[in-house]
Symmetry: C2
Subunit: 223 residues, 2 copies
DNA sequence: TAGATTGTTAATCGATTAACAATC
DNA sequence: TAGATTGTTAATCGATTAACAATC
């Protein structure tokens, strides 16, 4: 079977061609990748679709179906090789490269993000940390990051090739930063504040919502 | 997926009776609630299904469909009353009560969570903050929270009626805390570490995954 | 071999969307 | 009234699941 020709079979699964994945498939592949990355760190060599299902809360048949649309990655009776599945999914999601992030807000949350591996593990690099508080500017938060002045935003975004802006600022300040990011040409904004951000249609905002997930889990606990 | 519900009328929509919502409906209602809560804070009196769609990334027809399954909450030509929709959804999700949370880890992330409104806005109250570092025990992190000794876990969980444990601890420490929470009878664990937690089937783990959402947004940006 | 797990099919359920009458 | 937006239908698409042969 050739992977050149775009295979459209009505299942929403495609060959390795040039077409876009559906929203659902892309979201699920990203989740598999997260679990696989961590499994790799823990020294796991193989993982079964059932284990992936336990960790991602996606049905194991769905997982096998998602993966088999792109090739035969598994080994019957054994499972999937963690290493090779990671590279396969990265290829499918086209996220094999490095992508630069600018982080806003050097408070508790900003420092927690700067010090975490969550972004780094997936090819994202925090290349700049901004804060409006002049007394924080110049402060070193880890080996490679120093708090920069907010006024340098546009220049830094351009020079460092930043594609994602992450907002760890107070809710009241979030819209202004978002506006400045849009102005500077950033197309993806990750919002950790509670603000409902107004942005042009070509810009994607993702608002982090731990309480939403909690409400949802609680519903099933209570009923 | 561990939650199966009985099939009703084929539309996935139900009357206001006592039945369980489907996973999808419960998840979406929770998201509407988040946006409505913030809209209320901003002084909005009404909101249209289209605005809700913009903020939640759920189709506006889907939103109207979800809501109309429980009653006629909107006013044609006007939209939905924010206040009344908030109480309606809370009623549907049965989250009108208060629920207590125990937070683990008094580092940057733990302090960020303790100082945020995200949980409080949805009826969750952080009633205890634990840390294993003896030098942090007794430290005050805000008006009502003082870092407690990890050894008091079981006693505090029982006395304070804690239903959710939130892990803001290093990845290497997460499994041990999870085990102790399970032991103490907690059924919902919210995991901010990268660890893949092993828990019994009756316990729900939600692992926060900002990088996953980012990967996913990036895919659509790059293609 | 025996046990385990993939890859795949087929049936059903739920989500998505366009369209539009009802009505505020 | 005129414009806006809900509530609802119908068609289609994607997700979910059980089941099981293939095969490691």
């Amino acid at each position: 079977m050739s992977f050149r020709e775009p295979v459209r079979d009505g299942t929403g699964v495609q060959g390795g061609g040039g077409e876009r994945l559906s929203l659902g498939v892309a979201a699920r592949l990203s989740r598999y990748l997260q679990v696989l990355t961590q499994a790799k760190k823990m020294g796991r060599e193989t993982i079964s679709s059932q284990e992936l299902a336990d960790y991602t809360h996606v049905n194991s048949t769905q997982i096998r179906r998602d993966l088999s649309g792109f090739g035969k990655f598994g080994k019957r009776g054994v499972g999937y090789n963690v290493d090779s599945l990671v590279s396969q999914i990265r290829k499918i999601l086209r996220t094999t490269g490095k992508h630069n992030i600018a982080l806003f807000g050097a408070g508790n949350l900003g420092q927690a993000i700067a010090g975490s591996d969550i972004f780094a593990d997936h090819g994202f690099r925090v290349v700049a940390l901004f804060d409006k508080d002049p007394s924080k500017v110049g402060q070193r938060v880890n080996e490679s990051l120093t708090v920069r002045a907010y006024d340098d935003l546009e220049k830094v975004i351009r020079e460092e090739d930043v594609v994602v802006g992450v907002l760890a600022v107070p809710t009241a300040a979030a819209q202004e930063v978002a506006d400045d990011l849009v102005e500077a040409g950033v197309k993806i904004i990750f919002n950790y504040s509670e603000a409902l951000l107004q942005v042009p249609p070509e810009v994607t905002v993702h608002t982090s919502s731990p309480a939403v997930d909690l409400l949802y889990a609680l519903y099933f606990y209570l009923t």
